[in-house]
């Protein structure tokens, strides 16, 4: 058995979520904190996100990813009780909060934590997840790994590229490739709308005249050693490719930006309940999972649009973990959220009665002029789209406790265009 060290709090993952949670917990008076990171560098995805647009909500100024990470690294340094362990992998977490880690420098170490915050983030869906037929040549990248290769290691992937998926990373990479001299022939999107921010469609595609094909997908990859071309086809309303309308695009690189999945291997091991709508743990207003003393925040709980939201939510989780350690969070009465019309997901899933709770809501499909109903509260929503988070701060008076749940729905909207 590895030696066991008693600590107050273990935070798993030093990306934006883990850093914000650890700093907030330290500021709230938690003394012994261990922040675990399997990479050599802190910041998670941020160091490779060299584009700007981060920090407007959280810092009220516009930063690039590395700059945003830098702010939090400076904060971490202010707390001597907060220890960072890089190149350290978590092997096991038990429901009674034993965290077993391994690293080249310390070998196996077991931490017995008073509380654990899960902040493992998310991973990209690879080619295998969407089953594109064809050969298996070189030149197929997920957008995030390509971003790492280009922005951290300085490699160019090829000369001409097709991007499948119009989420933000796909759009950002379309611009990045173009600026470095790679010809981006098209961005393809299976859905009839883009999941990326409108701002990115303007500044990453329209600025560079990169065509965006909505309701299109790649039906086959060609090439022996290297990608030579892809076959593209429009899809019908059931997302089935219309083969006779297919066409070929020659390219040596195919970039996949086809979604992100919360990374919950460890959460499953602990036995926390996952929400099928988010892919992340079910959490309450304090970001506590269904296992006491285990908290989850950031993209491990819900894939966010903005890192600022990750930081805000994770700071809340960090403060909540601190309150839990002081015995200030007792078992409280909570009500489940219930997704009504045009609602795909809601986080937190459990509303602690009497607690003001910021909600992150996602719509199922785009609509105009809908009204968001949350319990007794409501707000007008000019435009909703699955790609953009709907924010709502749920106040205790919005809740009708007699219902036994908090219903969230979008009413009276109409599908636009």
């Amino acid at each position: 058995m590895p030696k066991t060290k008693a600590v107050d709090l273990v935070v798993v993952g030093a990306g934006p979520a883990g850093m914000a949670a650890a700093v907030a917990a330290a500021e709230a008076g938690v003394e012994k904190i261990i922040l675990l990171e399997r990479q050599a560098e802190l910041g998670g995805i941020l160091p490779q996100c060299i584009h700007n647009g981060f920090g407007l909500r959280y810092f009220k100024e516009e930063l690039t990813g590395p700059e945003y990470a830098h702010r939090f690294v400076q904060e971490l340094k202010k707390h001597p009780g907060l220890k960072v362990k890089t190149e350290t992998m978590v092997v096991t977490i038990t429901p009674d909060r034993k965290v077993v880690t391994t690293s080249a420098t310390e070998g196996l170490v077991c931490y017995q934590a008073g509380a654990v915050i899960l902040a493992m983030g998310c991973r990209e869906r690879p080619r295998g997840a969407i089953n594109i037929p064809g050969t298996r040549p070189a030149g197929i990248y997920t957008a995030g790994s390509l971003q790492y290769l280009m922005n951290i290691e300085g490699f160019l992937p090829g000369r001409s590229a097709v991007i499948l998926g119009s989420g933000d990373i796909g759009l950002i990479m379309a611009r990045r490739l173009t600026l470095e001299g790679v010809r981006v022939k098209a961005v393809l999107e299976l859905m009839p709308y883009s999941n990326g921010l409108n701002r990115n469609i303007v500044q990453c595609l329209e600025d560079f005249q990169i065509p965006l094909y909505l309701s299109h997908t790649v039906t086959e990859i060609f090439g022996e050693k290297r990608v030579e071309k892809v076959r593209v086809a429009p899809v019908d309303k059931d997302f089935k490719p219309i083969a006779e309308k297919g066409f070929d695009l020659s390219c040596d690189t195919l970039v996949l930006s086809v979604g992100l999945i919360p990374e919950n291997e460890l959460s499953l091991q602990i036995g926390v309940e996952l929400d099928p709508a988010t892919g992340g743990p079910v959490v309450d207003s304090f970001y506590q999972t269904t296992v006491e003393g285990i908290f989850a925040c950031g993209n491990v709980a819900l894939v966010h649009d903005l890192v600022d939201d990750v930081s805000t939510e994770s700071a809340l989780a960090g403060r909540a973990a601190a309150a839990y350690l002081k015995g200030e969070i007792k078992t409280k009465r909570w009500l489940p959220v219930k997704a009504g019309r045009n609602i795909r997901s809601i986080v937190p899933q459990r509303i602690v009665v009497g607690q003001t709770t910021p909600l992150y809501i996602r719509a199922r499909y785009p609509e105009r002029n809908a009204t968001l109903h949350v319990g007794d509260g409501q707000t007008k929503q000019q435009v909703v789209s699955p790609g953009e988070t709907i924010y709502y701060t749920l106040k205790p008076e919005d809740i009708r406790t007699a219902d036994g749940w908090v219903e969230v729905s979008l009413e009276g909207g109409r599908v636009h265009d």
């Binding site: 060299i50 960072v84 922005n151 300085g154 600026l179 921010l197 701002r199």
Partner: protein, 130 residues
Amino acid sequence: MTELTCIVCPVGCRLKVEQGKEGLKIIGNGCRRGVAYARDEMTAPKRMLTAVVQVAGSERMLPVKTETAIPKAKIYAAMEEIKAITVSPPVMIGQVIKENLAESGVPLVATGTIAGEGCFKPLEKSLGSE
């Protein structure tokens, strides 16, 4: 009337711009910066540019940005200048890498830190050993 999507921040307000007698009339902006964006976009569009530059003796790149937005028309010229740059460590975050990038009057600044020899590992590595 022209419709624009404000790109100043990720909110992405939908702006409507109308040429009135007393200049441009802008509606739909969530904050004052939207007005400035719409004005610029109608007259002289500007963009922030971010990229990476090579670091002598390192296998890692250094991230950089233009300190403020530069004219959209100078983006490719700016990229050509950026591709020719190799910096020598150490470089601190915020340090000016090149003045007057592509004659825009705007400097190129570092957005990351490269800490001298053995710069594969960032500064933070020294943080928090027990």
